[in-house]
Amino acid sequence: MTGANNEVVNKLAQDFNASQREFRVVPTYKGSYPDTMNAGIAAFRAGNAPHILQVFEVGTATMMAARGAIKPVFQLMAEANEPFDPKAYLPAVAGYYSTSRGEMLSFPFNSSSSVMWYNKDAFRRAGLNPDQPPKTWPEVFDAAKKLRAAGYDKCGFSSAWITWLNIEQFSLWHNVPLATRANGIDGFDTELRFNSPLHVRHLQNLIDLQKDNTFSYSGRTNTGEGRFTSGECPIFLTSSGFYGNVKANAKFDWANAPMPYYPDAAGAPQNSTLGGASLWVMGGKPAAEYRGVAKFFAFLSQTERQAKLHTDSGYLPITQAAYEQVKASGFYRENPYLETPILQLNNKPPTENSRGLRLGNMVQMRDVWAEEFEAALAGQKSAQAALDAAVSRGNVMLRQFERTVSR
């Protein structure tokens, strides 16, 4: 973790080390999420793995499949006799990191979700009501056209994490399958399904709007987020973790709102899924050391600490109790923008299509999907052809992943 959040992690370790004498937690920064994961894997191969590894949500399937390399958290806590109740967590959080039998494999740590950020000053300039942000995609398109006419001609709206927002979250939010087998949660023999008419329609809309920059592509990761804070893009979809950055850098009146949906899609909006990372315990360590890890997790689970983590870092509260406590304290009246992602996650009880997703090779697969999106947005491919190609290329990678793990 970087910046202010790095301090939060260091403080946690210090507090834990001060709270007892038996164990010591030493936090080490290893770079970006993919770098950290690769460093952990390399350390494991060299027989020198850390006890705890922070892995981002798209690495979940890879970690889960590495049965010999990890120690499942539910097992760790049971063996160390530490209290641990998966039901204490928000269902969307627990579901993401548990097996289909409800056994939690990793310890949820920092979670976020994606929301729609918008520039209230720009809305006023374009004659839109800043207190009634667009709720549906057609309303977003309309608003973006008006904003474009009002001078935002380089970018009416945009989105970071193009595939996370427009394939993954889009599928869950509309209760349509991203992939079979509950988006991969029920098994690695999953197949992608995101070339449905609804997906094609959405991509086609983006292609059409890209032509005059009503929609303007901002890259595969979040490097384009500066286009919102600089005032270039008045509507921007990205992680709720963008909060700290917006607060520090946006020199205009801003707000966020839930992600838009297509009103004629049955069941939309459903619920969103999370981003962020969880803590994985690496295998092959002595039982006495695992006792220390379990103690640290018990320490992290305390409601007080969870609530403070949430309000300090802007990440989601991951337990029900911490959420209730922060809510009761009136914190959200001052900071309603921190509650939007939670309301989205809890919007409806999760269905087969919206429990989460768990696809192997996800880090690279996102790049492959983004490549097809780029080809479509550049006008080289139709929406249908691009999504078909993304699905078939992704399926090849899923089969390869299945093959390397199922033996």
Partner: protein, 293 residues
Amino acid sequence: MEKRVVFDGKLLPYALLMPQLLITIIFFYWPAAQAVWQSFFIQDAFGLTMQFVWFENYSVLFANPDYYRSMVTTLVFSCLVTFFSLSIALMFAVQADKHIKAAGAYKTFLMWPYAVAPAIAGVLWLFMFQPSLGLVAQAIRALGVDWNPQLNGGHAMTLVVMAATWKQISYNFLFFLAGLQSIPKSVIEAAAIDGARPARRFWTIIFPLLSPTTFFLLVVNIVYVFFDTFGIIDSVTGGGPAQATTTLVYKVFSDGRLGGDLGGSAAQSVILMILVIGLTAIQFRYIERKVQY
């Protein structure tokens, strides 16, 4: 009488060669052998299971249209970078070789970019040409061109070619300048007296006499483009948009490190190795003949 020194025993010469041999074996042959070995297996990212699959990694690769695409991309990219970095460096070297004021300062400034790490060079160019922040990008947009390297493959390719060329010009410049200075002045002066104009003197005297340097740089530049430009591509485009800048070496990285497919990635590096060995061999076999030492 001819003097000949004869060393007794064979130990000393081998001992003297040892450090270099060790370095070559540990840092070149050992990893290369590992890559060949790994290319016959499929394994998971953690190395928990390994399965010997003969040439399957290779056959999968050659059945994949993306791989051929990346070969074409590499070809285009390497031709452009090699051509531009050599010709621009030669032009600079010829100019700096003239009797001008502050030639030393020019030379020093021209060498600076070589000290910049590839990833940093990439970021510098990215900043200048980033559509919403970059100064140059805004100038281009003001001219009415919809500059957008994030979606337009041609624009992205232009950007990485510029960054990679810029980075290599200094190196080439240095060698060209040294080459130029070793050409005897008397030959050029004789031609001048015979009435040859500067352009004619360049093409009939300087350029042929420079050919050993040019040939050496050609080989070095091709190796550079094949392997060392990876940092620039990673920081500027990440191989995108839509694979427009995914070169062979970038694909090795993205499949191996991002995809965790070590077998497939190893197979690709073996092919890349063979390609570069082949290219270098061809250059020595055919082009070197035309080089006048």
